[in-house]
């Protein structure tokens, strides 16, 4: 009976919880102020001599790469190539819309490399001094109309989208959604608001056409793969060009391995994988 029998005094428990939270917050901010490592902060060249090398000259370390959803396939291949060239390295990928990833990084998500599908998402991070040096454009992409296999709705161009039923676009803050809105506005095509379903990233947008009941959608040229969907091309004159920048984050715990990865993406093997996936060269 009475307070003697309680295992933990309630006031002490609350104080301990508050102390832990304060400690956690302090730890979070302190890593951001550690001095920049010896690796150069400007644009990364093809060989980075300052990355920690194992006995065979391969890079070691463990990094997290946050990449736009449209980079899922090429970056997974690039990751395998990077690991093949550097057997002791560990690369973890997070794929989602560039805006979501940027928001997570701004909120403190631990990441080493950020690859976005538009300059605006990268700008939200460079504006907060979260990118080391200047981001480099590593690929470009274009949009296409995607329809179900066999084109049952007989869509021939952007103008048909205004009356084709439910159209799947990315959210207006997602890069492919921004580009799609630009392309539609430039072509003067007004799809009724209650026919547009907005996906949270380009893969979800594609799934609405591939697996769901959306009649058509607008995604990147590189996303139209498999036998459930086919592409209806948008003429170059009406199309938008998406530029993909990549950068190393200042809060990266392993700056040199991150820079080695970026160098790999910009190098010949990375370029080949991206072009095989349908991306345009950074040109």
């Amino acid at each position: 009976m009475g307070s003697r029998n309680r295992l933990v005094h309630p006031v002490r428990l609350v104080l301990a919880a508050l102390a832990l939270t304060a400690l956690g917050a302090a730890c979070g901010t302190s890593t951001g102020t550690t001095a920049a490592p010896s690796a150069s902060a400007t644009a990364v060249g093809p060989t980075d001599a300052s990355a920690p090398r194992g006995p065979t000259g391969a890079v070691t370390g463990s990094i997290t790469v946050s990449a736009a959803a449209s980079l899922t396939e090429p970056f997974t291949s690039i990751g395998e190539g990077f690991r093949a060239a550097n057997p002791d390295v560990e690369v973890t990928f997070t794929f989602d819309s560039s805006g979501t990833l940027a928001r997570q990084i701004l909120a403190g998500a631990p990441s080493d490399v950020f690859a976005a599908a538009d300059e605006a998402s990268m700008a939200t991070l460079t504006g907060e001094d979260l990118i080391a040096g200047s981001p480099a454009v590593f690929a470009r992409n274009q949009l296409t109309i995607v329809v179900k296999q066999g084109n049952p709705a007989n869509i021939t161009g952007l103008a048909d989208l205004a009356s084709a039923g439910t159209i799947s676009l990315c959210g207006s803050q997602v890069p492919c959604g921004r580009y799609a809105d630009q392309v539609l506005a430039a072509a003067d095509v007004a799809i009724p608001a209650d026919s547009i379903t907005r996906g949270q990233n380009v893969k979800a947008t594609l799934a609405a056409v591939a697996d769901g009941d959306a009649d058509a959608g607008i995604v990147y040229v590189t996303d139209v793969t498999g036998d459930k969907v086919e592409a209806v091309a948008i003429p170059d004159a009406d199309n938008a060009v998406a530029t993909y920048p990549i950068g190393v984050l200042t809060n990266s715990a392993d700056r040199s391995t991150a820079e080695a990865f970026v160098a790999f993406v910009l190098g010949p093997q990375g370029r080949a994988t991206l072009e095989a996936g349908g991306f345009l060269p950074p040109g």
Partner: protein, 256 residues
């Protein structure tokens, strides 16, 4: 307790209180609020209408395969909501098990083409939202009411029978009044679950502003473009949840 309190306190601190009412008055916010209200109430009504006979059957009737039926009814409780959305697509989309034939039948030239309203499609419609929300909310109602029906004193029903009351009269005048508090609690739980549904809604009904973009979907999409509106809408959901918990505290937390 700090684990639960801190996120809520953080949310309240994040809110832009001076612009709260204008944020809530913006077109996207009003659309989302209106849709959420209509769809969650619709889903609750449907959950009660379908759930009451289901709960009564599970509590009073014994039949072969009853355990399996109960497991099926309660499945959405443990199924991840997105998986529920995919399952709903498999059943009710234009190429689905039931949705496919229904769509073809109500299209031009089909057996049911004479029905008003054109081809019947559940996806990308407000009806689809109600369907998805009912799918996830129904088990909450059934589980609450079935438990109440099992634990009530069935002798009252027996007495009514001996006095000559038919099954329907007994149900109406004896059973329902006795389990009414649990009926209400089950309906409120189902309503709260329907209000918060995200995964099944966005997968099955899509995300169409003004037609299927409910509060949770609106918050998710507004987080990047207009975070202050997203936080304002989150506060509305938070206030609703708190009200539900306070209203149900006697039933769930203090009842033996």
């Amino acid at each position: 307790m700090a684990f639960f309190a801190l996120p809520l306190v953080g949310l309240v601190r994040l809110a832009s209180w001076s612009t709260l009412l204008t944020d809530l008055g913006s077109p996207e916010a009003l659309d989302a609020l209106r849709l959420s209200l209509i769809c969650s109430l619709g889903a609750t009504v449907l959950s009660v209408a379908l759930g009451l006979p289901l709960a009564w059957t599970l509590a009073r009737v014994s039949f072969p395969g009853k355990g399996f039926v109960r497991a099926l009814v309660l499945l959405p409780l443990v199924l991840p909501p997105v998986v529920g959305g995919v399952a709903l697509l498999a059943a009710f989309s234009r190429r689905g098990l039931i949705g496919g034939p229904l769509f073809d039948a109500t299209s031009d030239g089909g057996l049911l083409a004479w029905l008003p309203g054109g081809p019947m499609q559940f996806t990308f419609s407000t009806t689809g939202v109600i369907l998805a929300e009912t799918f996830v909310a129904l088990p909450f109602f059934v589980i609450t009411v079935e438990a109440a029906l099992r634990s009530m004193d069935q002798r009252y029903e027996d007495v009514a029978a001996t006095l000559g009351a038919g099954r329907w009269l007994t149900f109406r005048r004896v059973t329902v009044p006795l389990v009414l508090p649990s009926l209400v609690a089950g309906a409120v739980l189902a309503w709260a679950r329907a209000l918060g549904e995200f995964g099944a809604t966005i997968t099955f009904a899509g995300n169409i502003a003004g037609r299927t973009q409910t509060l949770p979907l609106g918050v998710y999409l507004l987080l990047e473009s207009r975070p202050e509106v997203a936080v304002a809408l989150s506060l509305v959901l938070l206030a609703v949840s708190l009200t539900v918990i306070v209203a149900l505290r006697d039933r769930w937390l203090e009842r033996a």
